[in-house]
Symmetry: C2
């Protein structure tokens, strides 16, 4: 365990070294990326298994898209974040970019294949030339686990299910308490309209509002007025709304707010959230949901409800911050195929890196096997390599996970140590005289109990022992 | 099924369209890449499960590396194939390339983390700007499934195990007969030496020999003499050897060949293969192995045994050709860390795309579920949305894979059709009068048998039915 922690630390350091070491070759991964060692892979796979189980519980099927897309597929989908897209070099042929999320390629897939309705999940790596903060789980290459429901539905039914999926997953991963913040793009648009923001500035002001989770209102206000040229009075009006948060009570209050409700868009958004809270109650997730008027989400393509899950745990080691996000995007598919029938979509994306950092930290001192070997074939003396090989082949033939030393004449003590260190439950020990008698020794590694087994019955005995045992 | 086949076909066509459609946006994936639809994903996952099971049976653990590396990590490792590497655009910062295989990043990982000994598997996508031939399974983005044994060992023990791993996997995938062609770089080098090829030309001539699986000897000879300037007489001497193939009998013949055995390197290689055949017999794979003197493999980094598995099936639909390859590369890790102790490695890479094409083709007419939903909650009349939602939440809570219609008031017939089309085994049907009586109907979809269940016992009854049934 110690070794793997040190290795991880070392790898981290290697990665964080300055990228420009003056011509000399530096042995490292690319900035903002990392390797996963076997221990991290076990933790990651366990988390993936739980996430996929949830997606399947909700009837989703999976698909896969390439890691890069035509550059124009990604163009104009990400607002201010487009500058973070990785491009491939022009080596002749098409202009390509690494995918920035799984959502836009999914919409491209739907349009290209004329799929009008699907519930799909997808796990994959995405790429952003962001400023990495590895200790906070912010990487340039990172995994997203997406769940999306595409196709015509009655209002809010799939939207609430996405929140249910997020809470099921965060609960199954045994993470601390979390809250799912929600808002609605129509409420934001209606709010901007009611406060007199010109429509051409909606997306820009929306991006500013989105920064309220990290910056105080004064800074955000300054960005609106100084950088984006918004009338200060209008900014102040916005400020009276976007700092409010609550539940369906806030929805009701705002439905009685004559100024906000002068906007048809705002009323539509509020009615939608009202329905959302009713369904959230039925799905048992209402207590997890917070209507937060400052939630805006940076991406351009959202058209309806938007969400973001944050851990509310105050354990500083585990950090806080967003670990899932998503929303409704009813017009994205049509961008790829304007003539086709609209494919309304809603979905959520789980950001697994921060979750993995928490799980790795938590399990740092746990003993954990990274191989699943069940039986080790050992020799008690020299010149038994060929006999060991024959036994291994026999056990592999019947599906038993079997290893042996790659030395021709390994020491018995070293072989038994390997078994103990690696947590291999059974060792077969062969010796010349035993082989002549037609027997082998079977050793239970933990108890060190040994018994003699007829060589011809070895496979059957092992099959029985291994199926009886929880391996 | 029909629909998914058509979709796949359509996607394929989209992808094969000429990449330069004169400025107009073409809805397609990047040249040489493809999406996997849900049906293909099921087939792929089943194949991966079998492959991973085999890797674990041989005691391997897994790790993961980023999709791109510093460009210099890949430089000088791939010989003539280096021109096929994808570079990322220089957007400021490091110069990066997409990984060309999983082997070089693995060696970089070993050097960077000072890992001296590991048995690892890795499944991941790799990238080559090759001329794609999608119908033959040659893509620019494709999966490799790698198994490698790193660290000091006695000769040939892990090398034979790699062949055993390949044959276990190809057998478990129920593919047709296959043969694993082997050769040894020291035999090739010794052969070139014995035929008087200057050492500086070894790698170039080796690349030419490697083309013998696709081109006749005349063409290869012409490349050696005309393009690479080799003395025609020396080329003819090489030709007397490289067209020979056999088993350990050929090894023995060559060990008696005084000309070849004038090279120390050749003798070492032949002795190694002699040992290889002895171990292959013990591991039960000797009949699968063919010593083929024309096998050379293009990559620069091999130093010992090299292999390539080919399907020998003559079914033209399934095609033939290489589906796995690998070899020993004892000096690659040291390229990254010249001061460290050598880490000898041997490994094999399974090319899954061609295998998937065969499996997809074979299962094209099989009915196959792409979702695992166990229970569908249906309403027999209007205004029961909230009751359906409550039942779904209850079933999700106990881990049952449950779906319902996203319409507020769906038609019963449509809901039951969904169950039948999607192969969902059970449907719960609720109606107003039944709910008032405290019961629901449970319908076995295939037999259409229905029974009344007490609403409060629904969860328990379903748990029992689902655990009794092989879902």
């Amino acid at each position: 365990e110690e070794v793997s922690k040190l290795l991880a630390l070392k790898a981290q350091q290697g990665t964080e070294k300055d990228e420009k070491a003056g011509g000399k070759f530096v042995l490292k991964t690319a900035k903002g990326t990392r390797d996963f060692n076997p221990r991290q892979m076990v933790i990651r796979q366990q988390a993936f298994d739980k996430i996929i189980a949830c997606f399947k519980r909700h009837g989703a099927e999976t698909l896969d898209t390439p890691v890069f897309e035509l550059k124009e597929v990604l163009t104009g989908k990400y607002g201010e974040d487009s500058k973070l897209i990785y491009d491939l070099a022009d080596q002749g042929g098409e202009l390509l970019s690494l995918r920035y999320d799984l959502t836009v390629p999914f919409a491209r897939f739907l349009a290209m294949n004329k799929v009008g309705s699907i519930k799909r999940y997808q796990l994959g790596k995405v790429y952003r030339r962001d400023n990495p903060a590895m200790t906070k789980g912010r990487f340039r290459e990172f995994f997203q686990c997406d769940f999306d429901i595409a196709g015509p539905t009655d209002p809010m039914i799939p939207d609430v299910e996405c929140v249910r999926v997020v809470t099921e997953i965060l609960d199954s991963l045994d993470l601390s308490e979390h809250v799912v913040k929600i808002n609605h793009r129509k409420i934001l648009d209606g709010l901007f309209e009611a406060c007199g923001v010109p429509e051409s500035q909606f997306r820009a002001i929306c991006s500013s509002v989105d920064k309220l989770d990290k910056s105080p209102w004064e800074d955000v206000r300054r960005e609106m007025t100084d950088e984006k040229g918004l009338d200060p009075e209008k900014a102040d009006q916005i400020g009276q709304y976007v700092l409010r948060a609550g539940q369906d009570d806030l929805v009701e209050q705002l439905l009685a707010d004559t100024k906000l409700c002068s906007s048809k868009s705002a009323v539509e958004g509020l009615e939608a959230l009202k329905l959302f809270f009713r369904y959230a109650e039925l799905y048992g997730v209402k207590k997890r949901v917070k209507f937060d008027m400052s939630l805006a989400r940076g991406l351009d393509y959202y058209t309806g409800i938007i969400y973001e899950a944050v851990l509310t745990n105050q354990n500083p080691e585990e950090g806080v911050g967003s670990i899932a996000g998503g929303g409704r995007y009813d017009n994205l598919v049509a961008l790829f195929d304007p003539k086709a029938k609209a494919v309304p979509c809603v979905g959520v994306s789980i950001g697994i890196e921060r979750i993995l950092a928490i799980l790795e930290n938590r399990e740092a001192n746990l003993k954990m096997r990274t191989v699943e070997t069940q039986v080790y074939v050992a020799a008690a003396q020299k010149n038994l390599l060929e006999d060991r090989m024959k036994i291994c082949a026999e056990l592999w033939d019947i599906g038993i996970k079997t290893e042996m030393s790659y030395k021709a004449n390994p020491k018995l003590l070293v072989q038994l140590q390997t078994c103990e260190e690696q947590g291999i439950p059974w060792a077969i020990i062969i010796g010349q005289s035993e082989l002549e008698k037609g027997v082998v020794k079977l050793r239970h590694v933990v108890s060190r109990h040994e018994e003699e087994i007829e060589r011809t019955k070895l496979a059957d005995v092992l099959k029985e022992k291994l199926s009886a045992q929880v391996v």
